[in-house]
């Protein structure tokens, strides 16, 4: 088509560059796909791990809730009861016990006072019996004297003598009754003395220890209540933290969906790069069709070296070399790992040429 050597040289150069662009586009397409696959695989792995973590934390939250429930309740005589309610009930029982101790002590003093009063009354009864006995003794003397005087009066005193005899007889009966009362009162006094001794023994039992015991048990119960409350607060705090972690993991899993958007964008880039590679190839073919006698394309080694110097990851560089210099025929490069070595040395590049 043209015989102008300068234009032919330019066309040769253009074809060389066009070939390099096509291979570069192809290499970039490969790199973008590799990156996309790497991101997808990593995102899937991360998402899976987060799901596992979410499951574990949910399980942990359930366990903690069970711990709270079990720590706050206990079983007494087959009935389930809250620990706090049980301890409050025990404190109430202790109060009740002290009240009963005080009530018993007070009633003991009342009984002692009553017995003391009773002894006073019995002493008064004893005095009364003594007085009755004095009266009956005097009455008896009077009756005897009256009988003597009646005897002196002869026939006229016979009736009076009978009355005096009856009075003497009554006096004896009263005296006998007084003795009977004294005997019975003596029994009462004996019983009363025994009762006083028993009450004295009962009241002499010092129940102060029971009152002091209440204080000790109260202290222990309050310590246990405090510990129980602190344990519940701690476990509840852990439960809240676990719920926060579970929520955060859920949000992280949602955030991992960025991978879908990234893949779509990369597919767009791949698509455009393929279009560009196709356009470059079409233009080369058109040029060759128009100028069939142009030279075979030679790669611009200096240009490639300049391009390779820009790569920092050895793995990426090797894949690029495979696509650009060997036109995709060099397959020893692992596309799957995604791991690279930073700042590969220039000597590696030369060996691969």
């Amino acid at each position: 088509m043209t015989e102008d050597p300068q234009i032919r040289a330019l066309l040769d150069q253009w074809l060389g560059l066009s070939e390099m662009q096509r291979r570069t586009f192809s290499a970039l397409v490969n790199e973008v796909r590799t990156t996309s696959d790497l991101v997808e695989a990593s995102a899937d792995t991360l998402s899976g791990e987060f799901q596992k973590l979410a499951g574990v934390t949910r399980s942990q939250a359930t366990n903690l809730a069970e711990v709270i429930e079990k720590a706050s309740r206990t079983e007494v005589d087959g009935k389930e009861i809250a620990v706090r309610a049980l301890m409050e009930q025990m404190l109430g029982d202790l109060e009740n016990m002290v009240e009963k101790v005080l009530f018993i002590s007070k009633q003991g003093i009342h009984v002692t006072n009553s017995l003391q009063d009773l002894v006073g009354h019995i002493d008064a009864v004893d005095d009364s019996i003594n007085r009755i006995e004095d009266f009956t003794r005097q009455t008896n003397y009077l009756a005897v004297n009256a009988k003597l005087e009646a005897a002196k009066a002869g026939e006229a005193g016979k009736g009076f003598s009978v009355v005096a005899g009856e009075i003497a007889s009554m006096s004896k009966s009263i005296n006998s009754l007084s003795e009977d009362i004294r005997t019975r009162m003596s029994g009462v006094v004996d019983g009363l003395d025994k009762g006083r001794d028993l009450v004295r023994e009962l009241n002499a039992i010092d129940m102060s220890d029971n009152i002091v015991l209440k204080e000790k048990i109260e202290k222990v119960l309050h310590v246990l209540l405090d510990q129980n409350d602190k344990l519940n607060e701690t476990v509840k705090g852990s439960l809240n933290e676990t719920e926060t972690i579970t929520k955060s993991i859920g949000e992280l899993t949602t955030t991992m969906q960025f991978q879908d958007r990234t893949k779509q964008r990369m597919e767009h880039i791949v698509d455009i790069l393929e279009v560009l590679a196709g356009a470059s190839a079409d233009l080369s073919e058109t040029t060759r069709n128009e100028c069939p006698d142009l030279k075979t394309v030679e790669l611009d080694e200096a240009w490639v070296r300049g391009l390779l110097d820009r790569f920092l990851l050895d793995e990426v560089k090797q894949r690029f070399i495979s696509h650009v210099l060997m036109d995709g025929t060099f397959d020893d490069v692992d596309n799957s790992t995604g791991r690279g070595v930073e700042h590969a040395s220039a000597s590696d590049d030369i060996e691969l040429f």
């Binding site: 002290v98 129940m207 204080e215």
Partner: protein, 101 residues
């Protein structure tokens, strides 16, 4: 128990000392009878010198409180110390008798 009875501006004061146990119930009762006979206002049991009280002694204080209610005079307890103060607190005696520190 040892005691003496005096007076202050507002009534009769019984000063108790040593221990108050069951063996003192007759003396305590006699003291209270004397105090009631002399009382011109409230009766104060000054426990500042009382060193020990047992459950029977607490019973005596409660009986004195009941007696004050039934006979219509007022009872107060002054300055309980040490073991005595602790026992009064544990028994919550302050809920039924005026206790002044």
């Amino acid at each position: 128990m040892e005691y003496d009875i005096g007076a202050n501006g507002s009534g009769t004061v019984c000063h108790l000392s040593a221990d108050l146990t069951f063996n003192d119930h007759e003396a305590f009762r006699a003291m209270l009878d004397d105090a009631v006979a002399q009382a011109s206002g409230e009766i104060v049991l000054d426990l500042s010198k009382l060193e020990f009280i047992d459950s029977a002694g607490m019973g005596m204080l409660l009986v004195a409180q009941e007696r004050s209610q039934s006979e219509g005079w007022s009872l107060a307890i002054d300055k309980p110390q040490g073991q005595v103060q602790k026992m009064l607190e544990l028994a919550k005696l302050g809920q039924v008798v005026t206790i002044r520190s």
